[in-house]
C-alpha cells in the first residue's frame, strides 16, 4: 500500500518540479513550486515523519513560496509573465541528464544501499526534540546566528535609503 | 689556538664575513627610514659605506691564509632548524676571496661615480647597496639556501635600477626602451633561477630522503662523495644548474639580455651588472655544479665547452658590427664570459684557475670601460661610434684609460686579461686542440673590434661639435685610475691572486 501511495506522490512531485523548470509563465512556475513542496511533505508522511511534513508545509509552503511570490510581484517589468530560457539550455539539459545517470548508476552499483532492511521507522517528535537540544545544541546556536545574519543582511541590502545617492 | 685573546680575534675574524654582507643591507634599510635628505648626502653616505665594505673585503682577501686553504672565516648560525634544516652559513674559500675583493672594488667604484643621480637619490642608493650586499652574500655563503637567497636578492633591484634611472636609445631601425631592457633582464634572470631553484630543491629532497636534510656545501660535498647522488640524478640536475647559471653568465642562446641590459642601465648599475653580476653565474657553476655534482659535470662538459666557444666567437663577431659603445662592451663581455665558461668546462685545475682569474680581470676591465663610457655619454649625450670621434683631444684622461682597458680586454701581456686568457688556453689545449685554436682566434677577433673602436672614436681628427667637452671629474679619475692600476698589477704579478685561487681550485679539484 505504501508503494502505491509513494508512486502517486512521487509522480505528482516530479511533474510539478518539471513544471517549475519548464513553464513559460513565471506565476505558473511559482504555483508548480508550491505543489511540488506540498508533495514533498507527502513523501515525508510516507516516511512516517509527521513533524517534518508539518514543518515542510509551514516553512516551505507558507513562508518561502509567499516570499517568492512577493518578489515576483515586486520585480515586474515589461515582459512580466513571459520568461525564456537562456541560450545555454540544451547544454544544461544534457548536463542534468548526465548528473542523473551518474548518481543513479552509483546507487544501483552500491552494495550497502541494497541490503538495507525495508522497514521504515517512525521518528517521534519527542526523540527529535530531545536530540535537537542535546546532541545538536551547538549547530542549533549557529543556525540562530545564521538566521540573524540573514535578517540583518536582508534589511541592510533591501532598505531604501532616504538620500539614495 | 694560543690564548683567549686569539680566540677573541678569531671570533672577531669570523663575524667579519657576516659584517660584510650585513653592512650594505643594514645601510639600505636605514636609508629607507632616514628623512629624505638631498641625493648628494645619500651619495656621500653610501660612498662611506662602500669604502668600509671595500676595506673589509681587502682585509678578508689579505688575511685569507693561502697555506691552509679550505673555507675560512666560517660563521654558522642555525636559522630554521625545524623541519627543513637551514642554517645561515658563511665561509670564505680560495675562489670567493678574489671575488669578494672584486665586488668590493666594483661596488666602491659604482657608488663613487654615480654622484650625478638627482632623481630620487635615496631609492637609487638603497637598491644599489642591496645589489652589492646580495652579491657579497652569494660569494660568502657556504649554504645552498642562502646562496640562492642572495642570488635572487642580487637580481631583485636590477629592474627598478634600470627602469627608473636607465636611458632609452633609438637605433633608427629598432628602439631599446629602458623598460623593455629592464623587464627582459629581470624575466630572463628569474626564469633562469627557476631552473636553479628546482635543482636546489631536488638536491635537498635527496638529502632529506637520505635522512640527513642539509643545505651546507661541506655536508653536500661529503654526501656526494660517498655516492648519494646517482649519475642520472646528477646529469639532469647539473643540466639545470648549467643552464640556470649559464644564462646569468651570458651563455650563448640566452645572452641577449646582457647587452640590452647594459644599453639601458645607468653607469653605476651596468658596472655592477657586467662587472659582478655575470660572475655569479660562473661562480655558481664552479662552486655548486662541479663540487656537488662532479659526475654530472663530466657528462655535460663538452656541451658547455662548445657553447662557450660559440659565446667567444659569436660575441666578438657581433661586437664588430655594433654602432653603440655600450653594445660593443656588452657583446665583448659576452665573449669574455665565454672564456670563463670554457675555463670552467675544462675541469682541470689550470683551466678553472684561469676561469676564476678571468672572472676577476674581466670584472675589473668591464667596470673600467663602463665608467669611461658613462663619462663619455654623460658629456657627449651619445654613444654612437659614428658620431663620436677624436675624443682623445678633448678628454685625454678618459681616452688613455679606455685604451688601457681595451688592450687589457684584447689580452695584451702585462695586463691581467692576458694571464687569465693564457691559463684558459692552457687548460683547454689539454682537452682539444681545435677549441683552443678557436679561442685564440677569438682573442684576435677581440683585437680587431677593439682597435676598430679605438681608431674610430678615440684617435683621429676632432669633430667640431665635440671639441669643447670637459674631461673626467675627480671621482671618475680616481675610480678609473684605481681600476686600471689593479689591471696592471694583476697583469704584471698575477701571483697576487693566483695563490689564493690555486688553493680554492685545489679543494674543488679534489671533488672531481
Amino acid at each position: 500500500m505504501h508503494l502505491i501511495l509513494f508512486s502517486i506522490i512521487s509522480t505528482v512531485l516530479l511533474v510539478c518540479a518539471v513544471g517549475v523548470v519548464i513553464s513559460r509563465n513565471i506565476v505558473h512556475s511559482a504555483l508548480f513550486l508550491l505543489f511540488a513542496l506540498i508533495s514533498v511533505a507527502g513523501i515525508y508522511l510516507v516516511l512516517l515523519t509527521e513533524f517534518l511534513a508539518i514543518v515542510q508545509l509551514l516553512i516551505y509552503g507558507g513562508a518561502i513560496v509567499i516570499v517568492i511570490l512577493f518578489a515576483l510581484m515586486l520585480t515586474r517589468n515589461e515582459e512580466y509573465p513571459r520568461i525564456q530560457n537562456n541560450k545555454l539550455w540544451p547544454i544544461a539539459g544534457v548536463l542534468a541528464v548526465l548528473v542523473c545517470i551518474t548518481m543513479s548508476v552509483s546507487y544501483f552499483q552500491s552494495g550497502a544501499i541494497q541490503n538495507v532492511p525495508n522497514t521504515i521507522a517512525p521518528a517521534g517528535v519527542k526523540s527529535l526534540g530531545s536530540s535537537l537540544f542535546t546532541t545538536w545544541a551547538i549547530p542549533f546556536e549557529l543556525a540562530s546566528l545564521v538566521l540573524l545574519v540573514a535578517l540583518i543582511g536582508a534589511i541592510v541590502i533591501a532598505r531604501s535609503d532616504k538620500d539614495g545617492n | 689556538m694560543v690564548g683567549d685573546s686569539d680566540s677573541l680575534m678569531n671570533e672577531l675574524y669570523n663575524i667579519m664575513a657576516f659584517v660584510l654582507i650585513a653592512l650594505p643591507l643594514m645601510a639600505a634599510l636605514v636609508f629607507m627610514v632616514l628623512p629624505n635628505l638631498t641625493s648628494k648626502s645619500y651619495w656621500l653616505l653610501s660612498s662611506i659605506i662602500s669604502v668600509i665594505t671595500f676595506g673589509i673585503s681587502v682585509f678578508l682577501f689579505m688575511s685569507y691564509d693561502t697555506l691552509t686553504g679550505g673555507t675560512q672565516f666560517s660563521f654558522t648560525v642555525p636559522w630554521l632548524d625545524q623541519g627543513i634544516n637551514i642554517s645561515f652559513g658563511l665561509g670564505l674559500t680560495g675562489i670567493s676571496a678574489s671575488m669578494v675583493l672584486l665586488n668590493g672594488i666594483v661596488l666602491l667604484g659604482a657608488c663613487l661615480i654615480s654622484g650625478d643621480i638627482e632623481k630620487r637619490g635615496r631609492d637609487f642608493y638603497v637598491l644599489l647597496l642591496t645589489l652589492g650586499g646580495g652579491v657579497f652574500g652569494v660569494f660568502l655563503s657556504s649554504d645552498l639556501f642562502f646562496f640562492f637567497l642572495f642570488y635572487e636578492l642580487a637580481v631583485l633591484p636590477m629592474y627598478l635600477l634600470i627602469a627608473v634611472w636607465g636611458s632609452s636609445t633609438d637605433f633608427g631601425s629598432f628602439t631599446r626602451s629602458k623598460e623593455y631592457g629592464a623587464m627582459k633582464l629581470m624575466m630572463v634572470l628569474v626564469a633562469a633561477s627557476v631552473l636553479i631553484w628546482v635543482g636546489i630543491i631536488a638536491i635537498f629532497v635527496e638529502t632529506y630522503l637520505h635522512g640527513t636534510p642539509t643545505f651546507a656545501f661541506e655536508e653536500l660535498r661529503r654526501l656526494s662523495e660517498n655516492g648519494l647522488f646517482s649519475v642520472e640524478f646528477q646529469n639532469w640536475v647539473f643540466l639545470c644548474f648549467m643552464i640556470g647559471f649559464g644564462v646569468l653568465s651570458g651563455l650563448w642562446p640566452f645572452h641577449t639580455w646582457s647587452p640590452d641590459g647594459h644599453v639601458a642601465a645607468p653607469t653605476g648599475v651596468s658596472m655592477l651588472h657586467a662587472g659582478v653580476l655575470m660572475k655569479l653565474g660562473a661562480f655558481g657553476i664552479i662552486q655548486i655544479g662541479i663540487v656537488i655534482l662532479p659526475l654530472g659535470a663530466q657528462t655535460w662538459m663538452p656541451l658547455l665547452m662548445v657553447l662557450g666557444i660559440v659565446n667567444v666567437i659569436y660575441g666578438a663577431v657581433s661586437a664588430m658590427s655594433q654602432t653603440d659603445l655600450k653594445y660593443i662592451i656588452g657583446y665583448s663581455s659576452v665573449s669574455h664570459m665565454g672564456y670563463v665558461l670554457i675555463g670552467a668546462a675544462t675541469l682541470n685545475s689550470i683551466g678553472i684557475s684561469g676561469a676564476v682569474l678571468q672572472m676577476f680581470s674581466h670584472g675589473i676591465m668591464t667596470a673600467l670601460m663602463f665608467v669611461l663610457v658613462g663619462a663619455i655619454y654623460h658629456r657627449a649625450h651619445t654613444r654612437d661610434i659614428y658620431v663620436l670621434n677624436g675624443l682623445i683631444k678633448t678628454m685625454p684622461h678618459i681616452c688613455v684609460l679606455f685604451i688601457i682597458a681595451g688592450f687589457a680586454s684584447l689580452g695584451l701581456p702585462g695586463l691581467s686579461g692576458f694571464i687569465a686568457e693564457f691559463l684558459i688556453f692552457l687548460g683547454v689545449i689539454k682537452i682539444s686542440f681545435w677549441i683552443a685554436a678557436l679561442a685564440v682566434l677569438g682573442a684576435a677577433l677581440t683585437a680587431v673590434y677593439i682597435l676598430r673602436l679605438i681608431a674610430r672614436t678615440i684617435v683621429g681628427p676632432v669633430d667640431s661639435s665635440l671639441s669643447d667637452l670637459p674631461d673626467a671629474n675627480i671621482y671618475e679619475k680616481i675610480v678609473s685610475v684605481a681600476l686600471a692600476s689593479v689591471l696592471v698589477a694583476v697583469g704584471v704579478w698575477p701571483a697576487l691572486l693566483l695563490d689564493s685561487i690555486n688553493v680554492g681550485v685545489a679543494t674543488i679539484m679534489s671533488a672531481l
Partner: protein, 490 residues
C-alpha cells in the same frame, strides 16, 4: 543533560565573539550618524580583548568538546589567532572606506565579527553539519558584505553571482553529505574515515558523496573548475571586503580543506592516492590559469583576483602532498598562509587607501604613485615582490619552504610548475610596479587628495615590517606553527 565531554569553557572565545558581535550591533544604535567609525574601533578593541581571551583560555589545549562535534587543539588555536588578527586589520583598513563610501556603516563591522565567528567554528568542527552551518554563516556574512555598496551596480552584480554560486555549491555539498550519510550513518569525520578505511570494496555512493563534498569545498577555495566567480566577485566587492575575501576567506577555506583531508581522507590510503592525482592536476590547472590570465589584466583588483587564484593553486599543491608521512607539509602550509596574509595586507591596504576616494581601477591610473605617495607605493611594491617570491621578503622563504615540502612529498614536478608559475606572476607584478615607479603621473588621476589616517598607516607599516622581518628571521613564527604538525598524533 548536556553530554559528558562538555567543557564548554573551551568555547569561551566563540561565546565572547558572539557577544561582542551583538554588542557591536547594539552600539550602532547609540553612536550618532557621523561617528560610525567608533563602532569599528569598539569592534577592534573587542577583538584585541578576544585575542587575549583566546590565548589564555585555549593555549595548549587539545581535547574534543561537546560530544566530538568540535576539536579545540593547537591547529584551531593558531588559525583562530590568524582569523582574529585578519579581522582586526580588515576593520582598521576599512574604516576610511566605510566612512566615505558606504551607507548603514554600523552593521558592516558586526557582520565582519560574525564572519570571524563562522571561520572559527568552521575549522574547529569535527562534524560535517557544524562545518556546513558555520560555512553558511561565513558565506552569508560575505554575501552581504560583497553587496554592501548598494548603489554601485558592480557590487550588486557581484553579490548576486556570489550568492547563486554559493548556494548552488552548498546544495551540491549537502547532496554529497546525504550520500555519505546514507552509507555511514553519521556525519562525524572520524566515523566516515572509519567506515571508508574499513570497507574493503569502496562503496560508489560514499565515494561519490565524498567527491561532491570536495567539490563544495573546491568552490570555496576557488580551484580551476570552480574558480569562475572569483574575478567578478573580487572586482565588484568594496576593496576592504575584497581583501577580507582574498585573505580571510581563503585561509579559512584551506584550513577547513586541510582539516577535512586529514580527518576524513588520510586514513583511507587507497582513496587518497587517487585523490592526490586529481587534486594535483587541478592545482596545476589553477596555477597556470590564474597566473596566465592575470598577465593580460588591466584592472588592479581583477589582476589581484587572478593572482589569488594562482596562490590557491600553490596552496592546493601543498594539500595534495599531505600524506600521513610527515608533518612538514602542514608546517609549510601554515607558514605559507601566514606569510601570504601579511603580504596581501601590505598590498590590499595600500590599494584601499589609493582607491577609496577617487575610485581608480586601472593599473595605469596608479602611474606616478611613487612620487606622490611613496609609502603607499613602497607598500604595494614590497607586497608584490614578496608575492612573487623574491628574497629578503617573507614570500621567498614561505615559497621555498612549501616547494621543498612538496618535493619531499614526492611531487617534484609539481614544485617545478609552481616555481614556473611564480615566475609568470613576477611578470604582471612588475607591470604594476612599472606603472607606479617608472611611468609619470597622468594628469587626470591625482593621488595627493588621499589622506592616510593613523589606522590605515599602522596596518601598512605593520604589514611591511612583518613582510621583511618574517622573511629575514622566521624562527619564532615557525616554532609556533610546527606544533600543529602534532595534528598527526591526535
Amino acid at each position: 543533560m548536556i553530554p559528558e565531554s562538555s567543557n564548554l569553557l573551551l568555547l569561551m572565545p566563540e561565546f565572547v565573539l558572539a557577544g561582542l558581535a551583538l554588542v557591536v550591533f547594539a552600539s550602532d544604535l547609540i553612536i550618532p550618524e557621523g561617528k560610525k567609525e567608533w563602532v569599528g574601533r569598539l569592534a577592534v578593541m573587542g577583538l584585541i580583548g578576544l585575542l587575549c581571551v583566546t590565548i589564555f583560555s585555549v593555549m595548549g589545549v587539545n581535547e574534543y568538546v561537546y560530544n566530538d562535534f568540535l576539536l579545540v587543539d593547537h591547529y584551531s588555536f593558531v588559525f583562530k589567532i590568524i582569523f582574529i588578527t585578519v579581522g582586526i586589520l580588515t576593520i582598521l583598513i576599512s574604516e576610511e572606506f566605510v566612512k566615505e563610501n558606504l551607507t548603514s556603516q554600523g552593521e558592516y563591522y558586526g557582520l565582519l565579527l560574525l564572519a570571524i565567528l563562522g571561520m572559527n567554528m568552521l575549522i574547529q568542527s569535527q562534524e560535517f553539519l557544524t562545518a556546513y552551518i558555520s560555512l553558511e554563516l561565513l558565506s552569508f556574512c560575505l554575501y552581504v558584505l560583497v553587496g554592501y555598496s548598494k548603489f554601485n551596480p558592480k557590487s550588486n552584480e557581484a553579490a548576486i553571482k556570489y550568492i547563486i554560486f554559493g548556494t548552488f555549491s552548498s546544495a551540491i555539498f549537502l547532496y554529497g553529505l546525504s550520500m555519505v550519510y546514507s552509507i555511514v550513518g553519521s556525519t562525524q569525520y572520524s566515523d566516515i574515515s572509519g567506515t571508508l578505511a574499513a570497507s574493503n570494496a569502496m562503496d560508489p555512493v560514499a565515494i561519490l558523496g565524498i567527491a561532491l563534498i570536495m567539490i563544495g569545498i573546491g568552490f570555496k577555495i576557488g580551484i580551476v573548475p570552480f574558480h569562475a566567480w572569483i574575478p567578478d566577485v573580487y572586482e565588484g566587492a568594496p576593496t576592504p571586503v575584497t581583501a577580507y575575501l582574498a585573505i580571510g576567506a581563503k585561509i579559512a577555506a584551506f584550513a577547513f580543506l586541510a582539516r577535512v583531508v586529514i580527518g576524513v581522507m588520510l586514513p583511507a590510503e587507497e582513496l587518497w592516492e587517487n585523490w592526490q592525482m586529481i587534486l594535483a592536476i587541478s592545482a596545476v590547472a589553477t596555477m597556470l590559469v590564474g597566473n596566465g590570465i592575470a598577465i593580460v589584466q588591466t584592472k588592479v583588483k581583477r589582476m589581484l583576483a587572478y593572482s589569488s587564484i594562482g596562490h590557491s593553486g600553490v596552496l592546493l599543491s601543498a594539500v595534495v602532498v599531505m600524506g600521513s608521512t610527515n608533518g612538514i607539509v602542514i608546517e609549510s602550509l601554515g607558514y605559507y598562509l601566514i606569510g601570504y596574509a601579511v603580504t596581501s595586507f601590505a598590498v590590499f591596504s595600500a590599494i584601499t587607501a589609493v582607491t577609496y576616494r577617487n575610485g581608480v581601477e586601472l593599473i595605469k591610473d596608479f602611474a606616478g604613485l611613487s612620487d606622490q605617495k611613496p609609502l603607499l607605493a613602497a607598500s604595494i611594491a614590497i607586497g608584490l615582490f614578496s608575492l612573487a617570491g623574491l628574497p629578503l621578503f617573507v614570500g621567498f622563504t614561505i615559497k621555498f619552504y612549501l616547494f621543498s615540502s612538496i618535493a619531499i612529498g614526492g611531487y617534484l614536478w609539481l614544485a617545478g610548475i609552481a616555481v614556473f608559475a611564480s615566475l609568470i606572476s613576477l611578470y604582471y607584478y612588475l607591470i604594476m610596479i612599472k606603472s607606479m615607479y617608472v611611468d609619470t603621473a597622468s594628469s587626470e588621476v591625482i593621488h595627493n587628495n588621499i589622506i592616510v589616517k593613523w589606522p590605515m598607516k599602522t596596518v601598512i607599516l605593520v604589514s611591511i615590517i612583518a613582510t621583511i622581518v618574517l622573511g629575514i628571521y622566521p624562527e619564532p613564527l615557525v616554532n609556533q606553527i610546527n606544533e600543529i604538525s602534532n595534528l598527526f598524533t591526535p
